[in-house]
């Protein structure tokens, strides 16, 4: 019964979404305020209906109702509760429902908190949002119904893929979808702006929180995914340039560009059409990502099962959405004129440089990601594009970006003199170059990765700190007065500082782990001691344990440094009987200075294959991501974004 209610709720939501996409749009065109008023309640009803459907599916999973096909094939009665819940989105149909739930949630947020939005703009935004909803609800209903029943329910379920039974991955999809779908909001605002033919500072102030929210959640989602890959896959890698990873990385890059260009629209009322284009591109890459993940056209270790029919459906949605929006853009973009001029050396130019670099690097990632598909279609040749491609073609643009960042960030708006505004950065420049040289002279190997990466990280972080010192005029006013001014800085400035420092920390982590990690693979017998980059590891014992729905061999390995015990690592080799599938849980000991990482392989006679890594400063990669996300949160809570949206908007309609 519950599943039928859920299915029915989806159909109701589909009907409401059709009304919500048509009625307000006509109302906005004809000026019928009653028709436009329909948008807000419709968005809320649509959200409630999908929430009801989602709850029904959740109940089916939690109570292990195996008469529902999706539950039978993705859950098991013995599974821990957390994974019964996360099992709802650990499969294609359920994750699609979550996707749609978030889409409708954002629509409902606009109708709840958008009271001050001009009626016409709000009606159009909600209508566009509902159009996306209609497309994906149709996709769900016609190709991927999560509520399908089985005529003969099995006694127990097929279990969730054991690799997905992990806390990191339980929360990874919701965050990622909050980000992907968050970009649908900026898309809807962009399309609405194109229809009405005007963009102003108030519009930018409405778009920026959505872009920020999407970017923050994408950052967290990507970081969680990469952290999971790091400890669960047992190869010690944290980023593989896999098509599915790239699918989440491209919208992230565009979201970063959009965040920055929206600042220019807000402060200087220029770059309008470019910002609208970025808003369209951001969601386009989300759709392309959805297509890559769910159609199975590009081989990836992460992809959902291949299903050509679903792939074609998403391709059609993608072509209509992207094609439609870009056509509208081509027709209307010329109406966003501005007469603001700025000098080639100015904050505006810095932000444009940022945007160009981000967009070009997105193109590079895009080419590398779809090349296998093109090659197969055009040349009939099967190939894959590996990490070396991205390292060579993507990294240079990021290096230029990191080099330009502190300079662009410290320049004043409109007109600047590099010699004057850039002068305070001189100290940071000298310090970071010396840092790079120091690292270069200390290291024995010939790799340039560490000196360049560390120099860059130092430059970005010190440059950002210098910016704070200059802004508070700490040197002129004294430390105390500067500190007071520092506390009074707007949250947006703190957000900027955090985000940039976070980027610096991530660069530091990446450079350190790439340049200095050491690896060791061996067969170790019980009691054997071995040395990896200064650490002595001792294989103490190995035990069999029984988990709730798995059995495992758990190794016990002590790590010594300078003769002192520093860590005990417990790598596991798990076996999930229901899916008859083994998984690896690496034993990791993290400190701020290094990770000790051990993965257990197979048994050979009386020995075990053991893969050991010592990874200096690995944890900074994820600390950096969290600091970036923190910066986003600070920026979002800036009072300006809320107050301005209430006062200045009146004149927009």
């Amino acid at each position: 019964m519950l599943a039928e209610i859920g299915h029915f709720a989806v159909i109701v939501a589909f009907m409401v979404a059709i009304i919500q996409s048509v009625v307000p749009m006509i109302g906005a065109a004809k000026g019928y305020s009653g028709w436009m008023d329909a948008a807000a309640p419709a968005a809320i009803v649509q959200f409630l209906a999908i929430l009801l459907a989602f709850t029904m599916l959740m109940i089916a999973f939690v109570t292990s109702d195996f008469s529902v096909k999706l539950v039978a094939s993705n859950s098991h009665s013995l599974k821990p509760m957390l994974y019964k819940v996360s099992g709802v989105w650990g499969n294609h149909e359920g994750s699609m429902l979550l996707w749609i739930l978030i889409l409708a949630f954002y629509g409902a947020l606009v109708s709840l908190f958008g009271r001050r939005l001009p009626l016409v703009l709000k009606a159009r935004v909600l209508s566009v949002q509902a159009m996306i909803g209609v497309a994906f609800l149709a996709f769900l209903l016609f190709t991927s119904n999560p509520f399908e029943r089985l005529p003969f329910p099995p006694i127990d379920g097929n279990d969730l893929n054991p690799l997905l039974q992990d806390p990191g991955l339980a929360f990874h999809p919701p965050f990622l979808y909050l980000g992907y779908v968050g970009l649908s909001m900026t898309f809807s605002f962009a399309v609405a702006a194109l229809i009405q033919g005007s963009v102003d500072a108030a519009w930018a102030r409405w778009v920026r929180p959505w872009a920020l929210l999407a970017w923050i959640t994408l950052t967290i989602g990507i970081a969680l995914g990469s952290w999971w890959a790091y400890y669960e896959l047992g190869w010690g890698g944290w980023w593989f340039w896999d098509p599915v990873e790239n699918a989440s990385f491209m919208p992230w890059l565009i979201a970063v560009a959009l965040l920055h260009s929206a600042i220019v629209v807000e402060k200087r009322e220029t770059l309008k059409s470019w910002t609208v284009l970025l808003a369209i591109l951001g969601f386009s890459f989300s759709l392309i990502g959805t297509f890559i993940v769910r159609s199975g056209v590009i081989t990836s270790v992460h992809a959902f099962a291949n299903d050509p029919e679903r792939g074609v459906f998403i391709l059609v949605i993608l072509i209509i959405a992207i094609g439609g929006a870009l056509t509208l853009y081509a027709m209307r973009a010329n109406s966003f004129r501005s007469n603001v001029v700025f000098s080639p050396v100015s904050r505006e130019s810095g932000l444009i440089l940022n945007n160009l670099l981000l967009v070009v690097s997105t193109i590079v990632v895009f080419v590398g990601t779809i090349w296998p598909l093109l090659a197969e279609l055009v040349m009939g040749r099967k190939l894959s594009v590996g990490a070396p491609f991205f390292e060579l073609a993507f990294t240079p643009f990021m290096i230029i970006l990191a080099l330009a960042l502190p300079v662009g960030a410290i320049l004043p708006w409109k007109r600047a003199q590099l010699s004057r505004s850039g002068k305070p950065l001189f100290g940071a420049l000298i310090l970071s170059i010396s840092l790079g040289l120091l690292v270069w002279s200390l290291q024995t190997g010939g790799r340039m990765m560490a000196p360049i990466g560390l120099g860059l990280a130092g430059w970005v972080i010190l440059g950002t700190l210098t910016d704070l010192i200059v802004r508070t005029r700490m040197l002129q006013l004294g430390f105390g007065a500067g500190l007071i001014r520092l506390c009074k800085l707007p949250r947006a400035d703190w957000g900027k500082a955090f985000a940039h420092i976070g980027l610096g920390l991530t660069i530091f982590g990446i450079a350190a782990i790439t340049a200095w990690e050491s690896e060791d693979i061996r067969i170790a017998k019980l009691g054997e001691r071995f040395e990896v980059s200064g650490y002595i590891f001792q294989f103490d014992d190995i035990k069999k344990i029984n988990g709730k729905n798995y059995t495992a061999d758990v190794g016990n390995i002590s790590a010594f440094f300078d003769g002192k015990l520093v860590a005990t690592l417990k790598p596991e080799k798990r076996f999930y009987p229901v899916q008859r599938m083994p998984t690896t849980e690496a034993g990791i000991n993290s400190t701020l200075a290094r990770d000790l990482y051990i993965a257990l392989g197979d048994a050979h006679g009386d020995g075990w294959t053991i893969r050991t890594y010592v990874k200096p400063f690995a944890v900074w990669i994820w600390i950096g991501c969290m600091v970036m996300a923190m910066g986003g949160v600070l920026s979002m809570t800036d009072r300006r974004l809320r107050i301005a949206s209430t006062s200045r908007l009146k004149n927009l309609s």
Binding site: H302, V341, L353, V364, V385, G386, I521, P582, G601, T609
Partner: protein, 144 residues
Amino acid sequence: MAIGLKKRRRVQLIIIACIFLLSASILIGFAFKDGIEFFRSPTQVLSEKINESEVFRIGGLVKEGTLIRNGDNVSFIVTDLVNDVPVIFNGILPDLFSEGTGMIATGTLNEGKFQAVEILAKHDENYMPKEVADALKEQGIFQD
């Protein structure tokens, strides 16, 4: 005056954008030399002339009864059920690696033996790598 300045900015912007795009294309071209790994089935490996330094991917089924583990040296035969290629690998096999299932390895061909540097992990038991499925279909063996 302002309009003239605006136009000049626009031209400068377009020039810079073009420079970036051009350098991106050049970088992409260079990176493709190192970054592209062709996929070959055992039959293709035997019929094509392959440079010893070329890194490529081989895919097929792990032939039953050929997997030998000797310490951390692993050897097995990969087959598309028509032709076989021996593979040597030094490292830990992915969790889901077993005889009779599909696999993809990256590496080089050395005197008729494939020296793998990486063996691709699958995330799920039923998943057959697309290239492997296609290669088997070409030989008329695997149908979906």
